[in-house]
């Protein structure tokens, strides 16, 4: 993956497949400490211990169309390569939380990339799921809740192209304001 934002898009798809009705995506950056924390937490069906244990194995997958499952292994590798950490907490019926911590000063740090584009894709392609996206850079924070937008749309689908275009710009502008150094 060329950007961590693509890993986010990919790993969050697992939450979608797990039947989650609520998915929280946190991207928290501390520039002084050179750390970036990415957390994807869902209230989906969760996994048993054995499944969690086998998840980082690229040759483990529940799919039948192919024999490999690269999503989690790639994300884990990206974090550990930087000297960061990776963790999955899950229990059957209790959802799953995937947490990756990156050292941003490592030469092996993959650029974060366009997270908002990933969030936009997730939100608009999964109308039935409530997404809460939190982007924090040092003290500045932007929180987006898809439920509020859905309510405002009053029946107009989120995957309406005009809505998707608006949302993409809305997310990009607000996140950019958080990422920009304070004047």
């Amino acid at each position: 993956m060329r950007e961590l934002s693509l890993n986010i898009l990919d790993v969050a798809q697992n939450s979608v497949s797990a039947g989650a009705t609520r998915i929280e995506i946190d991207v928290l950056q501390d520039t002084a400490a050179h750390t970036l924390l990415i957390q994807i937490a869902d209230n989906g069906r969760g996994m048993d211990e054995e499944t969690v244990r086998r998840l980082p194995d690229p040759f483990y997958t529940t799919r039948t169309t192919r024999k490999v499952g690269m999503g989690v292994p790639l994300f884990k590798m990206a974090a550990e390569m930087t000297g960061g950490s990776f963790d999955i907490q899950s229990a059957v019926g209790a959802g799953t939380t995937v947490t990756a911590v990156f050292r941003t000063d490592s030469v092996d740090f993959t650029p974060l990339g366009d997270v908002e584009s990933s969030v936009c894709a997730l939100v608009t392609m999964n109308e039935q799921i409530d997404f809460v996206y939190t982007r924090r850079v040092d003290g500045r924070e932007f929180v987006f809740a898809s439920a509020e937008i859905r309510e405002m749309l009053d029946g107009v689908p989120l995957n309406e192209p005009a809505v998707m275009t608006w949302l993409a710009e809305y997310l990009a502008e607000h996140a950019a304001a958080v990422a920009a150094p304070q004047k």
Binding site: L6, G69, M70, S117, T124, M125, D154, P161, W166
Partner: protein
Amino acid sequence: MKSVEELLAIKNKVKGQMSVRSENEEGNVRVLVGMATCGIAAGARPVLNALVEEVAKRGLNNIYIAQTGCIGVCQYEPIVEVLEPGKEKVTYCKMTPEKAVRVVTDHLVNGQPVAEYTIGAATK
């Protein structure tokens, strides 16, 4: 900054068209973008964005863009499938944002599938 007022304006505009649209539901075209690990790694996200942007720009309101998983031919990702009612499914492979724009103009607008981008052409 984009405001919620703009979103409300979009909502009202779309609401006005929706009653017209639901009357001929069978004319709706579904465009599916493969968004599993393979698709994402190969560049599905910019392809999806390009499709959305072009469809929005042209104001096409019978097109539904959705995502799908891995269909098992990862080497041909990013894959885009076009499903038109009463017609055979068209599978485009190794897509790029530029190709996506052409699929919208040639196939979705003018009804001419872009043969050279299809999986049939790629596997010859």
